[in-house]
Structure formats: C-alpha cells, structure tokens
Amino acid sequence: MTDATNGTTTTNKLRTTRFRVPAVLFSYRTEVAIAAAIVVLLLAVGMFVPAALSMGNLQNIIQAAAPLIIMSLGVLLVVVTGGIDLSVGSVFSLTGMVTALAMASGADGLTASAAGLAVGLVFGSINGLLVTVVGLAPFVVTLITYAVAGSLAFIVTNGRSMPIGAPDFWLLNSGEIIPGIPNHLLFCIVLMVALEYVLRKVVVGRWFYAVGSSAIAARLLGIPVLRIKFAAYVASSLLASFAGLLTVSYILNAEATAGASLMLQAIAAVVIGGASLFGGTGSAIGAVLGALMITCIQNGVNLIGVNSFWQGSVTGAAILLAVLIDRFSNKNRI
C-alpha cells in the first residue's frame, strides 16, 4: 500500500504521529538494514585483515565510492520516476575525455570543467526530450545515448587516454573547502542531504514519487509529469558528468573506458538502497548506502585476497538480499 505522493505508507504515517523517533527509524528501515550490513561486512573483513577498520582504509573506501555515490543519486531520480538511465557510464567517460581535451587545448580548469558538465547537460536533455516529447521507452533512449556517448569518448581523442595538465585540478576532488573534510566527501554529503530533503520535504520532490507511482494519476492531479521526467534525466546525466570530473581530478587522467562498469553498479546501488525499478520508491540515503555497500564488497574482496571475479557474484547476492528484505518488510507491514 504505497502512498503515491511520497513513497511511504499510510501505516508509516500513523506510526510517525504516535512515536516520532522510532517512526523515523522505521521509515528508513531498509537504509538502517543496509548500514548494519555494511558494519557487519567491515567487521567480518576486519577479522581477516585488521587494517580494514583503519581510518586509512575507510578513507580509501569513501574515495573509491564517491563517483559511484554521485552517479547513483542521479540514477535514483530517474528510477523513482519509473525510468532507467543506461547512459550514465558513457556520459561519465565522455565528460572526462572532453575535460582533458579542453585542458590540452589550453582551457583553464574551470572552463574545461564547464565543457565537461556540458556533456551531461546535452545528453541529459536528449534523453529527457526523447522520453517525454517523442515518447520513446527510456530503456531504448538511454541505450542509444549510451552507445553514442561511449563511441564519442573514443572519437574525441582517438581512443587515447589523456593526462590532465592543469596543476591545481586535483583540488576539485582532494582539496578541502571545509578543513578536515576532503571535497569528494563533502560533495557526497551535500548532494545526499539536499536530495533527500527535496524528495521528502519539498512538494516538487514528492512529484517525482507521484510520477513513478502512476504517471496517469499524477497528470490528473495536475503534476507536470513530462517536466518532472525531463528534469530527472537532465539531473542524472549532470551528476554522472560531475562524477566523471571528480574521477579525472583524482587520477589526473581521462580514459575512454573509465565509466564502463559504473552504469550497472549505479543501478545496483539504487536497488540495494531500496528503490524499485517500477518507480515510486527509493531514497537518497539508500542510494548512498547501496554505493557504499558495493564499494565495501570490492574492498573486502581485495583485502582478503579473494579472486576479484567473485565480486560480481557477491554484489548479486547483496542485491538479492536487499530486495528480499524490502519485499518481506513490506509484506509484514500489510
């Protein structure tokens, strides 16, 4: 019994009024379960490799997770509206290549970054227009832009990886706007809090859930369905571009294949975080935790020395577990 306007349940609302603190925890039960699973995972890995629990390793995990977190937040918006965005990995790669190419052509870091973000804006707009105005299926549209952006990532530099020349560009990822907090972490926190607030507390944010629950009902309620969907695709591509910029800033190198594996990981993160691919549910906190879960699995597998080919199986098991937890918790509520 899903409430179309905010993705929570009527039962949930009743609980909120009676017991405020437990109700908040209850409404985030999937997220709490994932957070607990991450802690258990870290502790389990720590039993084999104590350094897994060191501050240095936790920083490594956050650094490795940051691009995936940001990309997942964008994908979440699309998934909440009942769509899918397969183009994010290619947009991520193309952004890096365009940014590096702009720098190689003499542009400063800011201009090159703007050029990189323009990739996201253009591809997001194309996705949004084809889905909303032309009425094509999101899967087909983003499959096309996935192929085109992926191809362009090779074309712009003839497939060569590009080093970053601007000496201060590393500051975007590893600098500290707030002392003690590296920028990649700051960006993740700010984006997660902002998105969670908008989705939960702002009317426009609730429209995303309404569109995902039932586009027809949303239209009858006067919600601008097409504009909401368009905004979701633009935001998704822009965040994928931003994630690409952060990665290029971190490794100071752009590669045409950099985002190849990230698209599926981002979708997996969103699903692990409690979103339904049918739309109408999901949270920013859940997507962030899903991305952290995937990164922790990769980190644990590496630290313990398990063959990395097992990562896919372990991630698949985590998704299955998350979906089952979500399914049974919903069943119990009803």
């Binding site: 060569r160 080093p163 990395s308």
Partner: protein, 320 residues
C-alpha cells in the same frame, strides 16, 4: 555496330587493366580484437605503416571481442579479396576454425600480440611478446627494488588470469621471485583495465600489506594507478614500481621517478613484423613462424638514450 564494338573493347580493356592492377596491388587486412584499447590501435599503426612501405593497401576490422564477429571479419576480408591478414585474435582458443577457413582460402595470416592455440601449425607467423621470460625479468628487477628498500615482500597488480599471456607472466614471475628470495604476498587481478580500478586495488594492496616494498604491474594502467597511490600516501621512492607494456603516461612517470622500470611491449613492432612475414609469404621469401619478442627494460636513467628511443618507436605511434 562499330561504335558498340569499340565500347565493348574499351570496357574489356578497363576490366583487364583493373584486374591486373588488383593483382599487383596487394592488400593486408588487420583484424583487431577491439579497437577500444590503445594497444590494438598501435599494432594497427604498425601494420598500416609497414603496408605503406611495402606498397600494400590497408583495411582494418574490429571483432568487438567476439569470436563470431572475428570469423565474420575474416570472411568479409577474404570476400573483398585481401591478400593477407594480420590478426590480434579475441583469444587463442578462438583461432582453430579461423585458421581452417583461411588455409582453405590460401590466405597467409600472421598473429600479433596474442598467438594461436598451442598445437596449431597452419598459420604463417605468430609475433608475440615473450611473456614468460618478461615475467621472469620483471620479477627479478622488482625483487631488487624491494630489497634495496629493505624488504623481500612484493605485491602484484595482474591482468585477469584467464588470459594465456597473464598466466605466462605469472609463471615466470613466481619462478623469479622464488629464485631471488622474494615473497609475492598478494596479487590482485584487474577486471576493467582502468587506472581508477588500479588505484583502488593498489590502495587495497598496501592497506592489507603495509610492508610491501615493491609493486609489479602486469599492465600499463597498473603502473599508473600504483604510482598515484604511492604518491598520495607520501611513499615516493619507498615503494618501487615496475610495469609492463609502456605508454606516454608511464614514460612520463618513469622520467619523474614515480616508476622505476618499464618492460616495453612493442605493439607497433608486432604489427610491423607481422606484416613483413605475410608479405614474405606472398612473395616467396623466407618466413619465421614463431617470433617471441623480448620485452626490453628501460629505466629512468636511460629513458632518453638513443637505444631507449629506438625501443619506444616500436611501442606506440609518434603522435601519442
């Protein structure tokens, strides 16, 4: 009637002249497993340049890592009338049906980078890197770097071990580590062959084994990733890094002292040598069936020497 006869004669002459030109002008087809990867672009550059030098035309195809597409490409090339093929196969195991087909068509074929399935002999030439010997040499050098830094512990960032060349590298490396008295404490295999992944893996490698004093990078991105991590952790010079393959990025790191040695895989050279071998087969000149090229080591102090420049010219095109 007279006009018609003249026209027919002209057409026949044109056809004959075109056929005779096609017979003289040979074409070499380069079939790459995937042109997404710089390495295979560089092999293609070698094929193209050598073809130009030998007066041959050049066409290229990409198999997109699919054995079926690879077979289709070979058939298309033969249908188009190419004289010879230089191929970087999708895998060694994908080659038997391809070789059977080309043997029937009497089209010479040279392998570059990855050889045919062991046991097969119906190919013109196979030009590959000597992965086993390189694995040994790189491990010996990596072990020396570790010992210079006060430890016998080394780590490895490996290619996926389902690849035959990776298995050969590892076999040679393990033997050399054992002989030199070094411990390979952990090996992590790549999946995506990206620098980002190598950074993550190098971080994890050093977190799990902080006493590692040298890292063996089996592919180019591994060296770049490891160098990034060592620099970020403030361990420059305290952990030695060696890498196989070589690229403009890793050469820059070598010059900076962030990497101590590169074992260059001569991608352009493999294309050049493969093309020369199929040309020899077409012209009746002697052919060398198996060429396992040694991957030469270049260290930071020698990177600007004429010998090193000669090696690098056979690794990637000058435009890179």
């Amino acid at each position: 009637m007279k006009m018609k006869t003249i026209l027919l004669a002209a057409l026949a002459a044109a056809a004959l002249s075109s056929a005779s030109y096609a017979e003289d002008k040979k074409t070499v087809a380069y079939i790459a497993p995937s042109l997404d990867i710089s390495y295979w672009q560089w092999v293609g550059y070698g094929v193209k340049e050598k073809a130009k030098e030998l007066g041959m035309d050049y066409v290229e195809y990409t198999s997109e890592n699919s054995p079926a597409k690879q077979m289709d490409n070979a058939r298309t090339a033969v249908t188009k009338g190419v004289s010879a093929i230089v191929i970087g196969p999708v895998s060694s195991t994908s080659t038997p049906p391809l070789l059977d087909y080309l043997a029937k068509q009497k089209v010479p074929i040279a392998f570059a980078g990855i050889g045919p399935q062991p046991g097969l002999t119906n190919y013109t030439s196979s030009v590959t890197a000597n992965n086993y010997e390189t694995g040994k040499a790189q491990a010996k050098f990596t072990c020396e770097l570790a010992k210079e830094r006060g430890s016998k512990k080394v780590g490895m960032l490996s290619l996926p071990q389902d690849r035959e060349n990776a298995q050969k590298y590892l076999k040679g490396a393990k033997e050399a580590f054992a002989a030199a008295g070094c411990d390979l404490v952990q090996m992590l295999e790549t999946r995506g062959l990206t620098i980002s992944e190598a950074v993550t893996q190098a971080n994890d490698l050093l977190t799990a084994n902080p006493d590692i004093k040298a890292i063996y990078g089996m592919y180019d991105e591994a060296g770049t990733g490891a160098a990034k991590v060592v620099e970020t952790r403030g361990l420059n010079g305290k952990i030695g890094i060696t890498v196989a393959d070589g690229s403009p990025t890793t050469i820059a790191l070598l010059k900076k002292g962030a990497i101590q040695g590169i074992f260059f895989q001569e991608a352009v050279g493999q294309g050049i040598d493969g093309t020369q071998q199929v040309y020899n087969a077409l012209t009746g000149a002697p052919v060398t069936q198996d060429m396992a090229l040694v991957m030469p080591l270049v260290t930071a102090d020698k990177v600007d020497s004429p010998e090193a420049k000669k090696v690098i010219a056979r690794v990637f095109p000058p435009s890179n």
